[in-house]
Amino acid sequence: MSKLLARYSPLLLLAVLWQLAWYFEMVSSTALPSLVDVASAWVDLLRSGELLRNAAASLYRGGAGFLLAVVVGGALGMIMAWWRPLNLMLSPLVEIFYPLPKTALIPVTVIWLGFGDASKILLIFLGCMLPVTIGAFNGSRSTEQVMVWSARSMGASRLRILRDVVLPSAMPELLNGIRTALALAFILLVTSELVVAREGLGNLIGYLGSNGSYEAMYSVVLTVAFLGFAADRIYQYFMRWILAWRDATTG
């Protein structure tokens, strides 16, 4: 517990500085409202159900797009590594689209699918897929030949080898790709909701901001920051658990 406290003490310091800056009016209070007011605005938002309703909408879009990206991107990367023709066909596409800022696709997905959930899910799916694909591809390619041979000599079929040897070999890189995708999902989610949406946390931030409710706006911004942090933390635990075999050391 004290270790935890020590680790996040800079955060605490930042909060104190914030409050001091507000107290001594070093910046205008609209730019930086009191943290206490932000907290009470947060409680109000929670009580009214506003926060949960919007969070649920965001979670659904973000979760669906992200999961779709993990499944499709992961499978695609593995098959690309396994089957050369697909690799030759798709690698140029991956190379071209990888550096494209995915936020540029927001208007495109809106034109295709409208203002609702579908356009956001598609955006997040497209934006998150490539890091997963690349992770799965590079990871699969790192599979040791002799492992595959070993499995084959013990009677494993090709499909089984894909599952039992290639997937676990690819796992470290794949999981790193998914971690990147997770961060991207948050960025794309909030940005797209900020630009065009009727609900969602990003939309709530935009709405509260244009309404002049800065305390409430800050409270939602901080909520999003915390959710992103928590998601990454949980993901790291998950990653460590899956890769326990790798980090296992004697004693």
Partner: protein, 265 residues
Amino acid sequence: MTEENAQIVVHGVSQVYRPPAGREVLALSDVSLEVQGREFIALLGPSGCGKSTLLYLIGGFLPTQQGSIRVDGKPVSGPGPDRGIVFQDFALFPWKTVRANVLYGLERMDLSRHERERRAQSFIDMVGLGGFEDSYPSQLSGGMKQRAAIARTLAIDPTILLMDEPFGALDSQTRRLMQSELLSIWQRTPKTVIFVTHDVQEAVFLAGRVAVMSARPGCIKAIVETQFDKADPHLLKSPDFVNKVDEIWNLVRDEAIVAQTARHP
């Protein structure tokens, strides 16, 4: 020995490695070898002469480029559980525990779950890894990994055992124990063993014939009969045995010198 009754027939096999970058390597040149069913043959030769390559070809992991390889009369077209292999660098699955590694091959055999587990355990015990069933390979020493790999291959009870320096990472005591375990398995169950080693004494002790390979590009330079009474406790000191080791050692040394000068001309 005629072709009809040999279980493994390697005929005029040459093998070239063509790495995507770098120059081609002729690893094997016109190798011919016949191995009888239930025979225990050892393969000796300087480092880089193609011993592993020959095992990979017989195992069906590499396609035969030139010449032919037949096992039980049929051309080898791929790996199969009839030919178990212990790889030089173990090739354990690092994401599986020792037990799961040993169980892996057993899972595709027609055995009850109970029988599979019993069998896995008995081979883990045999190689002296009892107590390490739940360890991951990264938690094992080199010698322990090697023993786990041996247990995994022996557990599926292949009729042909391809072993690539299987005791190379073991200390001399463990090595002795494993040698006698292997011999007793070979005597109990019908098995053909091709055993790669750098240890001449080990080769003469274990095998009925020793094939000495030339420096790269490898071919079979000599085949020496090494039939001894393995039950004799003083075998390793008997003059016949010592002379045989000497004779083969001289053959191997000549090739090692050739290999050495090829590297530093």
